[in-house]
């Protein structure tokens, strides 16, 4: 690819060449660092300095560190789910250069199928006796559900259009998205389904001992449903351990994906197909199969994310995929679409931004989408191909 420097202006002025990709990642981190510094400086100003000008003696400022910390953690949890969905967008985009608009519905399908699994587990008492296993199984079933939907989607709506004009698959994706929403609505009804409230206690005897009726009861920490008051940086903050579970599981899944793409043979095939489908097929890679695997990977992450989401927010509706889908797509673009770490970072950043910024800027929470998209536009002005740029493939969009 060294040849790019001599193969005419196939990129544009605004699109640096491959030779720079190393530098560019450096730039991305520098950029992120800069952004973080600006944000913290602003938050510091708002919390520590600004109130001194108007606060009366003894009065408590509305916006203080505890709010910031809580919102930051809440944002991380929400952002992890965005990131899991965003990866699906990014993987498909990286290979097919198409926006898989129906990916939000793949997520929704996972949540629904997971609901029936966990419901069955609850009915049979399995959920109570083997909570952790039941949740894992639920996740497995949800992942399978999502994967099946994604495979069908690829087969029916996208594969026949491989050679069609670029916008055509976008429309079939929109059509598939409406179809799936309406199908689930008709099948499972318009009332939301609610995941059961599950408790999963860990660390008995280590934490969470409470004096009850004179004796100390150590039931441990409920990882899923309960929330606890904790001191963080000397601030009393209400924390639900599940925030961190989401973050942790998401990071785990994302690392697994990263490993898969970088180290396995199939992952290499994926990257090869992303680079150039024709050449890849000449090299003996089964392009169709690789594309299906890509869809499956994205769907699997979405399915897992859906169960996390549903355990977290409990309600499942046929329309639940829409808003997270749009947000995740935004996150993928923010990070640089087609770029795996970009999607991760974009998701987390968008989640945190939505959660923290409206309060930090003194705006009503109603405007969080305006803040989020405003940020996106500002970022796009400075980095027109996302924070990390397009790395999975160098091809022009």
């Amino acid at each position: 690819m060294q040849e790019t420097t001599d193969s005419g202006p196939s990129g544009s002025k605004s699109r640096p060449k491959r030779a720079l990709s190393f530098l560019r990642v450096q730039n991305a981190y520098a950029f992120i660092g800069l952004v973080l510094i600006v944000i913290f400086a602003w938050v510091f100003f708002v919390i520590e300095i600004e109130p001194q000008f108007y606060l009366q003696e003894g009065e408590r400022a509305r916006y203080a560190w505890d709010t910031f910390i809580s919102q930051f953690i809440i944002g991380l949890a929400q952002g992890s789910i965005y990131a899991l969905i965003a990866l699906g967008y990014t993987l498909v985009y990286g290979i097919l250069f198409m926006i898989n608009f129906a990916h939000g519905e793949v997520f929704m399908a996972g949540a629904y199928i997971g609901f029936f699994a966990i419901n069955a587990a609850e009915q049979s008492g399995f959920l109570e006796s083997q909570t952790a296993l039941a949740i894992l199984l639920t996740m497995g079933v949800a992942v399978m559900g999502s994967v099946i939907v994604a495979i069908l989607l690829e087969r029916i709506a996208y594969r026949p259009l491989r050679g069609a004009p670029r916008l055509v698959p976008l429309i079939t994706a929109i059509g598939a998205s409406i179809t799936l929403q309406q199908l689930f609505l008709r099948l499972f009804g318009s009332s939301p389904r609610t995941y059961p409230r599950i408790s999963l206690f860990v660390g008995q005897g280590m934490w969470g001992c409470e004096p009850v009726d004179g004796t100390t009861v150590c039931e441990g920490i409920d990882l899923i449903s309960k929330s606890y008051d904790v001191l963080i940086f000397n601030q009393e903050v209400r924390i639900r351990p599940f925030f961190f579970v989401i973050l942790f599981v998401s990071l785990l899944l994302m690392s697994a994906l990263w490993f898969f793409i970088q180290r396995t043979k199939t992952g290499k095939a994926m990257r090869a197909v992303a680079e150039d489908k024709d050449t890849a097929s000449l090299m003996g890679i089964n392009v169709d199969r690789t594309i299906v695997i890509t869809f499956m990977l994205g769907a699997a992450l979405a399915g897992a994310g859906a169960v996390l989401f549903a355990l977290y927010n409990r309600q499942v509706t046929p329309f639940m995929g829409f808003i997270p889908g749009i947000k995740a797509f935004t996150a993928a673009v923010l990070g640089g679409i087609g770029n795996v770490p970009g999607a991760m970072f974009g998701g987390l950043f968008l989640g945190v931004a939505e959660s923290v910024f409206p309060s930090a800027l003194g705006l009503p929470n109603q405007l969080k989408d305006v803040v989020a998209f405003g940020l996106l536009i500002v970022f796009m002005i400075f980095r027109p191909t996302g924070i990390f740029g397009e790395v999975l493939s160098e091809k022009k969009a």
């Binding site: 029916i156 429309i171 409406i178 673009v333 009503p364 405007l367 305006v370």
Partner: protein, 713 residues
């Protein structure tokens, strides 16, 4: 049809198995959504054919159709057998659900499948209940075999006959479903008169073939139509069309005969024009000819429906026969007229084209009189989307800039015009202030209420251009920061604009100006006040039928402007930019200017539509400005064919008009819509009507230099 790997074992083809297997899965799911229960109450033909039976027939018939079509055999027997098998497999899916229902307790089934209602005893088991379930299942299997066989048989017929049967059945179902909406559109006497005049003109066209002078022929056609008019006038004056008159029983007083147009001269001229139309189509292109005759058939059927008032069995049979016959007999006539059209000289062709165009326009202008509020209202929405589609086409179809936030420009136009024309908005955020609360809308929009507290309140006609300009300029302003973005990055940023619009229009902080969720209401309707010319000329564009004229002129203007632009230097620059931005620039196309013009022109049309929309709704609410609008507009231009203006019309009819027709299937409306979106794109990836290739060298008069001389530059 797809024919990859179609092997045959005995008579059975693998395609048959493949498609009917897919279909069976789909049918299984569809049955679980409770489709038969939902449709059970709806009648297509009164007391004879209910919608769930239609659904069952479709469920069996469509797989049979697909399987039959994909069969490569030219032996009808094999096609029939394959179709029958496909129908059988499809029916198995329904039977599986029946079995499921007998095995699984009902409340558990309904817990999972919320809308499912028991189908045993319904149409799916042919009415058989639990006791004789076996009979019901066997009956369904037999029915599916027979039905599949019939479909196969129909497929084996000559193409024209097959089309005839399908179009007859299809139109029967559609007219049956819509009967309530369309039964009062045309009275029998009107239908008879108009169709009579048309036929008279048509006959005159054939009779006068030998006459060379086209204008003489046209005059004769006009006279033929006018003669029919006179006959009907005389009949009308003798009371034949009175409500319970002798000619046709049960019709309402007609629009033309006894309605608005009382002047007999106007009526005769009107009929004459219809006669002229009948004559013109005998030597017009087959498209014009066929659509005109189909229109006449529909008109006649509407007249009959008006008498029957419901989709009775007789009405259904007549509909079937009329459409089937039309499908068989019209195309050959069309070929004939087309042949005649071809032989004409260019000037004569042109004159026929012009006359057809003018007649079509007249038809469009008269249409609201017949169509009634509902259909007109649907057409209004369709035209709104046509205007927006034409606008977005500039951006996406020509300039290649993917915009997912078109709703922003639409909202800006609508809100601008609403704010400028409504007095209440500047004060209390939508509660009309006292002195004006009692004023009539008309006074507001004729400009009586100007300069209230220093704030000018404009009429619609003043606010409209302002709204367009504001939209155009905000469109350009939004374009500036995203000039460097390409492809999907642009898409997501524009989507961001759209989402910001959605949030901001309902946010509390903008409430004093935009009215938050309560919106701005009432927005005055436009008034055309020409009383200075003629005391009677005072028109309120206050309902669907009148606002229609505003829309239709806007559509024509928008189409004209964009058509002109697309063939101009600017349009070429847009398309070059879409194909290859860098090369276009290197050929001297200034990117910034060209892109911004695309943003501006495109937004201007959204603003134009938005302003009319505000006047049509007589109020503006944030609920109208969702992402779905952007998606709809984008989908319709792609479905129609990117960059094609007729494509926009077809796309809008399909994406905005069709859901209204689909209202009849109620809860399945959007599901069918989504499926159609996918299916149309799969079958026609380039859109329904791809843009035409501009034949520039033909349109040019032959170059003067006959001999190839060197380019003297």
């Amino acid at each position: 049809m797809m024919n990859q790997n179609n092997l045959r074992f005995g008579f059975l083809e693998t395609n048959t198995l493949r498609y009917s297997f897919y279909a069976a899965i789909a049918i299984f799911i569809l049955t679980l959504t409770g489709i038969f229960g939902t449709f059970a109450q709806r009648d297509v033909i009164q007391d004879t054919l209910s919608l769930d039976l239609v659904a069952l027939v479709l469920v069996i018939g469509v797989p049979a159709l697909v399987a039959g079509r994909s069969s490569q055999s030219d032996k009808p027997v094999i096609t029939i057998l394959n179709s029958a098998i496909a129908g059988l497999i499809a029916a198995t899916a329904v039977i599986l659900v029946v079995l499921l229902e007998t095995i699984v307790p009902q409340e558990e089934l309904m817990f999972v499948f919320n809308n499912y209602r028991p189908i045993i005893g319904g149409v799916a088991t042919l009415g058989a209940g639990q006791d004789n379930l076996i009979m019901g299942i066997l009956g369904l299997l037999a029915l599916s075999l027979i039905l599949g066989g019939i479909v196969g048989g129909i497929l084996s017929l000559p193409q024209r006959w097959m089309l005839a049967i399908l179009s007859g059945l299809g139109s029967m179902v559609i007219i049956g479903l819509m009967a309530g909406q369309i039964r009062n559109l045309v009275t029998p006497s009107d239908a008879l008169g108009v169709v009579g005049a048309f036929v008279a003109g048509y006959g005159a066209g054939y009779a006068t073939r030998t006459i060379a002078n086209p204008w003489l022929r046209r005059l004769l056609g006009f006279i033929a139509g006018g003669a029919v008019g006179i006959v009907f006038l005389v009949l009308g004056n003798t009371g034949a069309f009175a409500q319970n008159g002798a000619l046709l029983l049960g019709g309402d007083p007609s629009i033309i005969m006894g309605g608005a147009v009382n002047s007999s001269l106007t009526m005769i001229i009107g009929f004459g024009i219809v006669g002229l139309a009948g004559l013109i189509v005998t030597s017009a292109s087959s498209f014009v000819h066929n659509s005109a005759i189909f229109l006449a058939v529909v008109f006649a059927l509407l007249g009959m429906l008006n008498v029957q008032q419901r989709m009775t069995v007789i009405m259904a049979i007549v509909t079937f026969i009329a459409f089937a016959a039309a499908t068989i007999f019209i195309p050959p006539l069309g070929t004939q007229s087309n042949k005649q059209y071809r032989t004409l000289s260019p000037q004569q062709k042109r004159s026929i084209d012009v006359i057809t165009g003018v007649l079509a326009l007249v038809l469009a202008l008269v249409a609201p009189v017949f169509m009634g509020q509902y259909i007109t209202n649907v057409l209004d929405l369709v035209m709104l989307y046509i205007i927006m589609g034409i606008g977005l086409n500039v951006m996406v179809g020509y300039a290649g800039l993917l915009d997912l936030g078109y709703v922003a420009s639409f909202a800006i136009g609508a809100y601008t015009s609403a704010i400028l024309t409504t007095p209440s908005i500047f004060t209390t955020g939508c509660i009309p202030f006292e002195p004006i609360a009692d004023a009539r809308y008309a006074e507001m929009c004729t400009g009586i209420l100007t300069n209230w507290q220093g704030v000018g309140i404009l009429t619609f006609w003043q606010a409209w251009p302002i709204a367009i300009v504001v939209s155009a300029f905000t469109g350009m302003a939004l374009g500036v920061p995203v000039l460097r973005l390409r492809g999907d990055y642009l898409a997501i940023v524009t989507l961001g604009f759209g989402e910001m619009t959605r949030v901001l229009t309902r946010a509390q902080i903008t409430a004093p100006v935009l009215g938050a969720a309560q919106g701005i209401s009432p927005v005055p309707f436009p008034v055309i006040d020409l009383t200075s010319l003629n005391p009677d000329w005072y028109f309120e564009l206050s309902n669907a039928s009148t606002i229609y004229y505003l829309y239709i002129f806007s559509v024509l203007a928008a189409a004209l402007v964009v058509w002109r632009l697309s063939g101009s230097r600017l349009g070429r620059a847009w398309r070059a930019m879409k194909a290859d931005e860098d090369v276009a620039q290197a050929m001297g196309v200034p990117l910034v200017r060209t892109k911004l013009l695309a943003f501006g022109v495109s937004s201007a049309f959204a603003g134009l539509g938005g302003a009319i929309f505000a006047a049509q709704l007589r109020g503006i609410f944030p609920d109208s400005f969702t992402l779905l609008v952007s998606i709809n507009v984008l989908s319709l231009i792609i479905i129609g064919g990117l960059g094609s203006i007729p494509g926009v019309v077809v796309g809008a009819l399909m994406l905005v008009g069709l859901p209204e027709v689909l209202r009849e299937i109620q809860d399945y409306r959007l599901l069918v819509f989504g499926v159609l979106l996918v299916v149309v794109m799969l079958l026609k990836p380039d859109g329904l009507i791809p843009p035409p290739i501009r034949q520039l060298s033909k349109q040019q008069k032959v170059p003067q230099s006959a001999s190839p001389q060197p380019n003297t530059q």
